[in-house]
């Protein structure tokens, strides 16, 4: 197994120009073993979850359906936090709850010390952006149109782009190397190109937090690694926390910085991904009777 970008399961830091020196926040303070809660002092623009319970609120003759509860997690600014967990473990629910797309059952979500609850949708959208798995009919949309839509929370009512908006769009396109896709119809793009456009759209929101739900789901192996590299650079350059869920644990271990790990069961642990791998936490969450995770190679093997 060759590793095209250097670094491996033992946590080599991938450096693609931004430099690790840019890493802001208390990233490395989020160290430690499985079961660690919030570690370190509140730093810069960190995302902090305190006593968070997520799930679906009670309805008529239906009690609360709790998916995950008592979450104490931190995502450091300037770093990529990968959210790992088996299918159906609640990764998407957690991301949607942080994003305010569904209500949290209890607990608080704070970004750079400010609570995200109670913000009106436009104010929240100006602070955090999401990349979802939702597919839509690309119709006549062009790459540039989609990225410009990210300016919605900052725009005037008329929807016209001011120079500052145009600059933000250009910066977002540059961040994902998609400058040449402005006039390309979304319908004609490959999945990887489309995903880069969707990330650029999120960046155009100039968020202080970027959340991605399974951003690598439709991508081939090289594109997955490239995507994580792009995310690391974005986190470092913009000094914001980036949280990306993935079921691709091998890529996450190889390329991730910090990790949130759901499993086994509703247990949630956090720490640098290499620590999560070497401590056996990943194995505990994912191993089945047939497959086991090997911390040394960072890969799954048949037993």
């Amino acid at each position: 197994m060759t590793n095209p970008v250097g670094g491996n399961g033992s946590g080599g830091r991938f450096d693609d120009g931004a430099g690790d020196g840019v890493v802001a926040g208390g990233g490395d303070a989020v160290a430690g073993e499985a079961g660690d809660g919030v570690v370190g002092a509140a730093a810069g623009g960190d995302l902090v979850l305190v006593g968070l319970s997520v799930g679906y609120p009670s309805g008529w003759r239906r009690p609360d359906k709790v998916i995950l509860s008592g979450l104490e997690l931190r995502a450091a600014a300037g770093r990529v936090t990968v959210l790992m967990g088996p299918n159906g473990s609640g990764k998407s629910t957690l991301l949607r709850s942080i994003a305010g797309l569904q209500r949290c059952l209890s607990g608080t979500v704070t970004l750079a010390g400010d609570s995200l609850a109670g913000l009106d949708p436009r104010a929240r959208a100006a602070r955090l952006a999401v990349v979802l798995t939702e597919r839509f009919d690309p119709g006549l949309l062009r790459g540039g149109d989609v990225v410009a839509l990210g300016r919605f929370p900052h725009q005037r009512r008329s929807g016209t782009l001011r120079p500052a908006d145009q600059q933000a769009v250009a910066d977002a396109l540059a961040a994902v190397h998609a400058e040449d896709m402005v006039d390309v119809m979304l319908a004609r793009m490959s999945d990887g190109q489309r995903q880069r456009i969707m990330i650029a759209r999120a960046l155009a929101q100039e968020p202080a937090l970027l959340l991605l739900d399974e951003p690598s789901a439709f991508l081939d192996a090289p594109a997955r690694i490239e995507l994580l590299a792009v995310l690391r650079r974005i986190a470092a350059e913009r000094g914001i926390p980036v949280v990306a869920s993935t079921h691709d644990v091998e890529a996450a271990v190889r390329m991730g910085q910090d990790g949130w790990l759901i499993g086994p069961g509703p247990l949630c642990t956090s720490g640098p991904v290499d620590t999560l791998a070497s401590s056996g936490a990943i194995g505990a969450a994912f191993d089945t009777s047939a497959v086991a995770f090997e911390p040394d190679s960072g890969m799954f093997r048949m037993r």
């Binding site: 959208a125 952006a129 999401v130 939702e134 839509f136 119709g139 149109d145 919605f152 929807g159």
Partner: protein
């Protein structure tokens, strides 16, 4: 500076709107040459007293009605297609026309019933009674959809509710038809064929503001509608108040479709075909361009349909719906085939 395609398309459509208006004003029982029409429009005198009266009383109201109906239905269709992310949506998708039809059926066929008595009790009769009945029917259905929509999370469920309400009111109409006197049935059938003729200046005092309000609302919603192109969740994540936008789009559609249907009957196919034609012409998905272009495209197409319905060179008049369906159905098919994404089934 190189001219952008949207600019060219919008300018071309504006010219066509004026051209088709002159053409549409000219045709009818007595043919009026374009020169006389232009002279009347600029000086108020067509050069022939008969023509002047004909233009003032019949042709101008008819042309303005066609413009309003076409523009309104086009915008309403655009709103529904975007809201439901469905290329088959039209202004009547939420049952507005069935509601209007039910109102008219109750008023025309159901004399002696409570509803018929209610409409009669409003002190209106004849043509205006039909208009009031259609408006009330549309309003009732809209209210029902909006109330049910409060409990519905997904637009798909809302769509199904609209279709089901339409089917239920259609069944009621069929029931009324089954027990009615053929002469009254004919009156109802005539209403259902659609017409932009027969509107007076007084009618336009109601129709014009209703369509204008709906179109202005659509224009105001445009930036949010653009965000909705990425789906409701993305739109919500960008700060769009999805429920508020949804309710506004439904109200705008209902105001337009309710008013147009009340005065002109349910005009088929314009609402579904014109948004597709407009997208095809513009090649853009931006509602800030699509709404004005749909207004112009709707005005042009509806007027041309009205011209064809007059069967120029003969004395006969076709029902408007015959023409709109004959033109609209192939247009929808061609538009869908031309649109590679839809033809490929990507969604």
């Amino acid at each position: 500076m190189r001219l952008q395609r949207p600019t060219v398309v919008l300018a071309g459509l504006a010219v066509l709107t004026v051209g088709s208006a002159v053409l549409a004003i000219g045709v009818g029982s007595a043919s009026i040459p374009p020169s006389a029409t232009l002279r009347y429009l600029t000086t108020g005198d067509a050069g022939d007293p008969t023509w002047t009266v004909l233009l003032a009383q019949v042709r101008l109201p008819r042309a303005i009605t066609a413009i309003l109906a076409g523009a309104g239905l086009a915008v309403a269709g655009l709103l529904m297609q975007t809201l439901f992310a469905n290329p088959l949506a039209d202004p009547y998708i939420l049952g507005v026309s069935s509601g209007a039809g039910l109102g008219v059926a109750l008023s025309v066929l159901g004399t002696g019933t409570t509803a018929g008595a209610f409409v009669a009790g409003l002190g209106v009769s004849g043509r205006f009674r039909t208009v009031v009945a259609a408006g009330l029917g549309a309003l009732a259905i809209l209210a029902l959809v909006l109330v049910l929509g409060r409990w519905v999370r997904s637009v798909v469920a809302l769509l199904i509710i609209g279709v089901m309400i339409g089917a239920a009111s259609g069944a009621l109409v069929a029931l009324l038809l089954a027990f009615s006197d053929p002469a009254r049935i004919q009156k109802f059938v005539l209403w259902g064929l659609g017409s932009v003729g027969g509107t007076s200046w007084q009618d336009l005092l109601f129709l014009a503001p209703a369509v204008l309000v709906g179109v202005v609302m659509a224009g105001w919603l445009s930036p949010s509608l653009n965000a909705l192109l990425l789906g409701e969740t993305y739109a919500a994540s960008m700060g769009v108040g999805v429920r508020r936008i949804r309710a506004s789009a439904i109200v705008a559609t209902a105001v337009i479709a309710g008013a147009v249907t009340a005065f002109c009957g349910p005009i088929a196919f314009l609402g579904i075909a014109i948004p597709h034609l407009t997208r095809l012409a513009l090649g853009r998905a931006d509602h800030r361009l699509l709404v004005p272009a749909a207004v112009l495209m709707g005005a042009v197409v509806c007027q041309l349909c009205a011209v064809l319905a007059q069967l120029p060179g003969s004395d006969g008049v076709l029902p408007l719906n015959v023409v709109t369906a004959a033109i609209g159905a192939p247009v929808v098919v061609i538009a869908l085939l031309r649109s590679r994404t839809l033809a490929a089934g990507a969604a």
